[in-house]
C-alpha cells in the first residue's frame, strides 16, 4: 500500500548515507521513526531488528507472516519478534512491497545459487559478521543472525508454489518508514550483490534518516 510520510527530512536527527557493501548498526529509541530511502532505485536493504534491551528477542519472519497472514510487508505491516510482540510498524511506504522470504545473500549460498567459484564475492552476511565483530558492546554473535527483511525487493509466490525474483518495483527516491514500538537495534547490510539481475548488477547507496 502506497502511503506518503508527513515528516520533514530537514528535521531528522540522523541522516546518513550507506554505500553498497557497507553495514549500519544503530540504536533507535521507542517512538522514534526510521526511514530508509532507495537513492538510485532497485537496491536491497537487508535488515535485522533486535530488542536493544534484550537481543535474544529479534525480528521474526514467521511471527510477522503469521500475524498478518501475508508474505509481503508494506504500510500497515507490524513487524513482530520471536516473542510475538510488535517491534516496529511500517507507517509510510512509497515502494508498496518488501520481501521477507528471500533471506540475505551469503558467500556460501552464492556458491549454490550461482557458481562454486563465486565464494570470494562480497555478500550481506559477511557485512553482518563484520558488524557483530566490530561491535562487541551489543553482545551480538553469529547465533543472532537470523531471517531478515529485504526492503525494496519483490519476491512473489506463484499459485503452484514457485518463488520468483521479479524485477524491482522500487525507483530512485522511494522510501519506507517505520516507527519503533520498543528500543531497537537496527542492523542493515546494504546489499553488494553482483550476480542478481534485480539490481541491474549495480549496487547503489541508501539513505537512513531517524526522527
Amino acid at each position: 500500500m502506497i502511503k506518503e510520510s508527513l515528516l520533514n527530512p530537514a528535521e531528522a536527527h540522523v541522516q546518513q548515507q550507506i554505500g553498497a557493501g557497507d553495514y549500519w548498526l544503530h540504536r533507535i529509541e521507542k517512538g522514534q521513526t526510521l526511514r530508509i530511502t532507495d537513492l538510485e532505485g532497485n537496491q536491497a536493504a537487508d535488515t535485522l531488528f533486535f530488542n536493544a534491551d534484550d537481543t535474544a528477542e529479534r525480528y521474526s519472519m514467521s511471527d510477522t507472516l503469521r500475524g498478518q497472514h501475508n508474505v509481503f510487508l508494506t504500510a500497515g505491516s507490524v513487524l513482530r519478534s520471536n516473542d510475538d510482540r510488535p517491534m516496529l510498524t511500517i507507517v509510510a511506504d512509497t515502494c508498496g512491497r518488501h520481501d521477507t522470504l528471500g533471506g540475505a545473500c551469503a558467500t556460501e549460498s552464492n556458491t549454490v545459487r550461482y557458481d562454486l567459484e563465486k565464494r570470494h564475492m562480497h555478500a550481506c552476511r559477511d557485512s553482518w559478521m563484520l558488524a557483530v565483530a566490530e561491535h562487541p558492546e551489543y553482545g551480538l554473535t553469529r547465533r543472532d543472525i537470523t531471517h531478515n527483511i529485504n526492503f525494496f525487493m519483490n519476491v512473489p509466490v506463484t499459485h503452484e508454489g514457485g518463488l520468483t525474483f521479479a524485477d524491482g518495483i522500487s525507483a530512485p527516491g522511494k522510501y519506507v518508514e517505520l516507527v519503533a514500538q520498543m528500543n531497537i537495534l537496527v542492523l542493515i547490510s546494504n546489499c553488494p550483490q553482483l550476480n542478481n539481475p534485480c539490481n541491474g548488477y549495480n549496487p547503489t547507496p541508501i539513505l537512513v534518516s531517524v526522527w
Binding site: A56, S60, M61, S62, D63, L65, R66, H69, N70, V71, F72, N82, D83, D84, R97, L101, G102, G103, A104, A106, T107, E108, S109, N110, T111, V112, R113, D115, L116, R125, R142, R143, D144, T146, H147, V155, P156, V157, T158, H159, E160, G161, G162, L163, T164, F165
Partner: protein, 236 residues
Amino acid sequence: MTTSYQTQLPAGSHWSFVMRSGSALTLTDVAGGANVGMLFYNPENLLERYNAPDTLKCQHTFRLTAGHCLYSDMGRIFCGIEADSFGWHESVCGTLNAQQTAALFGSSDYQQARNQRHQNGYDSFLVELAKYGLGKRDMAACINFFAQVRADDNGTLQREQQGAQGAEVRLRFAMDTLVLLHTCPHPLTPGGDYPRAPLGLQIDAQRAPLPEICLQRAENQRGLRNNALYQLQGEL
C-alpha cells in the same frame, strides 16, 4: 546391529535424534491431519543450522516436496526429500508459542490434562534445543511437514490442507544432522479442538546416497559439492 527403528509419536510431543549421512527418516501421517515442525543442526558445529530462506531461494520454490534439498546456512545439504506422497510442505509459518496455542485451543496444562495438555511447538523446540546447549537465539524458521500453505497474488497466506491419512515423506541425509521435531499444531490451524493426529516415524540406517531426483537442479549438484568439500576436512 539394529538397522532400523520404528515408533509413533502422539500429537503435542517432541523428539530429537542425530541422523547419519546416508540414513533415511520416514514420516507417516497415520490417521490424517498431522503436523511436524522440524529443525536441523550440524552436530559437529551447532552454529550451522537449517536456513529456510536459502532453501527456498536456491531452488526457486515456496513449497517443498520430493526432489527438494534442505539447506544449511553454510551452503550445504542436510537432506533431500526422496519421496513424498503429500506433495506440499511449508517453511515460513514457524511455530506457535504457549499464548498463541491457548488463544486457538484454550489453555490446558499438565496439572489439568497430563499428557493431553495443549503443548506448543515453541516450548517443544526449546526443550530439545536445551539438550544440546542451544536456546532461543538458535531457533530458526522450521519446516512444517504435511502443511499445504498457498499465497495468492496479493500475498495472502491460506492453509489449504493439513495432512492426509497414510501420507508419507522420506528424507535422505547427505551429512550428519541433528534433527529436532515436534508434533504440535501448525500456526495457521483454525481454532477449536486441539489436533490429535499421531506421527509414524521410521529410521533406516542402511546407507544410500542422495537420490537422483534430488540432483536434477544444478544448484543441488553444487550444494552436494559443498558437502563433499566439507567431508574432505575429515573427522573433527
